[in-house]
């Protein structure tokens, strides 16, 4: 009878958790929908939310239909998908490495993906076969995250991971610079350098079709591994003793991150710090549970990039500010603040 009592108590806790668990997802989901509508309405021609909905449903004037469906919808979809992918990648890396400061952009993944893409652009291969672009970006991102975990070793401290990440992103940056340096056409170099800043401007449905399959595949791979993150929170050895195939999880997370980041970078250039900030903002909402963090992080990442992409369109500037520049401007101080807060843990990594 003792056991029955206990089971009832725990059952109630379970119900309470389930409601609490859905709430952040519902709120964040609504926020993303709201921002999507806003994103479709903002630009040189303002379209009211009502007219946006009408245009999406196939109504309204032909002009607003073209603006909303053909010009702004691909951009909004990409902002949401790329943001979600980066947020999810950050949450997965944090779960795998049991560290709140892990993020794809700190590990050089987007920089490596950019190098892969730039090589393809410079050789002119991307003009012939468009799908080569995301595949090259994904392959480069995979190699860089894999190399990072090999260099840093098992149970690496955060300090080791970030140092290795710094080295890898510098190497990727140097490779990109060299490619531009050697580019036969100065306009190609200029085009590449602008593309590297990260932007969602003038993206078409073609870009969406190019990136989305990879982003979705990456998200599916990452989501499939989420339950391993809780036992991994006890350390790799304890997780293995509970039946987690740690090596397999590690490989699948690297693959998922590479698919998501590579697919994103291929169409948007390097957009940083969403993978760091997204999970961080939503973590308190899910009780610091690394598995429950995944979906809210994706939604948080989508909301962040949508907001940033709306902000660059509202900034009063003669030349449009690139969204990647804006996320870096916000992200780097945020990162510094996180370092300040986690200083003791970071110092502990030294010893």
């Amino acid at each position: 009878m003792d056991g029955t009592d206990a089971a009832t108590t725990a059952g109630t806790t379970g119900v309470r958790l389930r409601v609490l668990e859905r709430l952040p997802v519902l709120l964040l989901g609504s926020l993303v929908v709201l921002l999507l509508l806003l994103s479709l309405g903002i630009g040189p021609v303002r379209v009211s939310p009502g007219a946006v909905l009408a245009a999406l449903a196939g109504g309204g004037t032909e002009e607003t239909r073209i603006i909303v469906q053909e010009i702004r919808l691909p951009r909004a979809i990409l902002a949401a998908a790329v943001g979600a992918s980066l947020g999810l990648s950050g949450a997965a890396l944090q779960g795998l490495l049991r560290n709140p400061l892990a993020a794809p952009e700190l590990f050089g993944a987007p920089q490596a993906a950019a190098l892969g893409a730039v090589l393809v652009i410079a050789t002119g291969l991307a003009d012939v076969l468009s799908f080569v672009l995301p595949i090259a970006a994904i392959a480069a991102a995979f190699v860089s995250v894999f190399a990072l975990l090999v260099v840093a070793g098992r149970n690496a401290s955060l300090l080791l991971l970030i140092l290795s990440g710094l080295a890898l992103s510098s190497l990727a940056g140097a490779g990109t610079a060299l490619t531009m340096n050697l580019a036969p056409n100065p306009f190609a170099a200029l085009e590449i350098s602008f593309w590297l800043l990260g932007s969602l401007e003038d993206r078409s449905l073609r870009h969406v079709m190019l990136a989305l399959p990879f982003i979705v595949a990456g998200a599916a791979v990452l989501a499939s591994q989420r339950h391993a993150f809780r036992p991994l929170g006890l350390g790799e050895e304890a997780a293995a003793s509970l039946g987690v195939d740690v090596a397999r999880t590690r490989l699948l997370v690297i693959l998922g991150v590479a698919l998501g980041v590579g697919g994103s970078v291929a169409v948007s250039g390097t957009i940083g710090f969403i993978g760091l900030i997204g999970p961080h903002l939503v973590r308190p909402l899910v009780g610091y549970d690394p598995a429950r963090l995944m979906l809210p992080s994706a939604l948080g990442g989508a909301a962040l990039l949508l907001s940033a992409d709306i902000a660059v369109r509202l900034l009063p500037a003669t030349t449009s500010v690139r969204v990647g520049v804006l996320t870096a401007l916000i992200g780097v101080p945020f990162f510094l603040w996180l370092i300040l807060r986690e200083r003791r843990a970071l110092g502990g990594g030294l010893g």
Partner: protein, 260 residues
């Protein structure tokens, strides 16, 4: 080996990075026994424990109740061998109940918010046994060292495995908690499990163990009741110490006294 032997290891060898750290260890333990695994630093105690749990590649055989554990899926094996590594780290401030619920992971309960009835009951039993019910809803990172180690034990007990392998579960605990933890592991053994505890504390080994396994440089050099396995000669040869010896409440008292 007698019919009562439940956990049997036969010619176990472990090599790490090309170096042989466990040499040809064979042992047979019955259910209900608590065995202390002792030996100087670097003797291979942790490697032997990992090999039994299937966490490192090892040669030789591990049998449980007559079944060969070789080639068993990780999760199947995890249900049979509950393993407590050193340190008891938890990287996220999760509530104690969710940590303990991870003990049900090998049974397919991957989400602590959606435990079945059997899993919930096992978690409650483990929390009561390790006396962590009082802080079941507090984040584990807010607990003291003694409380955290009891949570780690509860997590291990929640597996309800027939074999319990604990690597230095009492290191860095005060005497009260050391005795409590070992008494709990002894009760777990009496309830029908095979319990192997790695410890450096020879006094506690003598006080609580039914068997003492002595490991030296990767070889099993002693396997007997505490009074014999920790006799004057093995203590001098393996541990290079002399000890004060006595008895109390029918148990041997061994206090390492001087370096030989």
């Amino acid at each position: 080996m007698s019919a009562a032997s439940y956990l049997v290891a036969d010619g176990l060898r472990v090599a790490l990075g090309g170096r042989q750290v466990v040499h040809d260890v064979s042992l047979a333990l019955p259910r209900g026994h608590l065995a202390a695994l002792v030996g100087p630093n670097g003797a291979g105690k942790t490697s032997l424990l990992r090999a039994l749990a299937g966490l490192v590649p090892a040669q030789g055989r591990v049998m449980l109740g007559g079944d060969d554990m070789g080639g068993l899926a990780a999760r199947e094996r995890a249900r049979r061998f509950a393993y407590l590594p050193q340190g008891h780290v938890v990287h996220w401030p999760l509530p104690v109940r969710d940590i303990v619920a991870l003990g049900r992971y090998p049974h397919g309960a991957t989400d602590p918010a959606r435990l079945g009835r059997r899993d919930t009951e096992a978690v409650e039993r483990a929390m009561r046994a390790a006396d962590v019910v009082a802080f079941a809803d507090r984040p584990v990172t807010a607990l003291s060292g003694g409380e955290r180690s009891r949570v780690a034990l509860a997590r291990m007990l929640a597996v309800e495995a027939p074999v319990v392998l604990a690597d230095e579960p009492v290191a860095s605990l005060d005497p009260y908690h050391q005795i409590e933890v070992l008494a709990l592991l002894q009760r777990t053994a009496r309830a029908g499990a095979v319990v192997i505890v790695v410890t450096h504390d020879l006094g506690l080994a003598a006080r609580f163990a039914d068997r003492v396994l002595v490991l030296e440089a990767g070889r099993l050099v002693g396997d007997d009741v505490p009074g014999v396995a920790l006799g004057p000669a093995p203590l001098a040869e393996v541990f290079r110490v002399g000890a004060y010896r006595s008895g109390h409440e029918g148990q041997p008292v061994i206090v390492p006294w001087s370096a030989v």
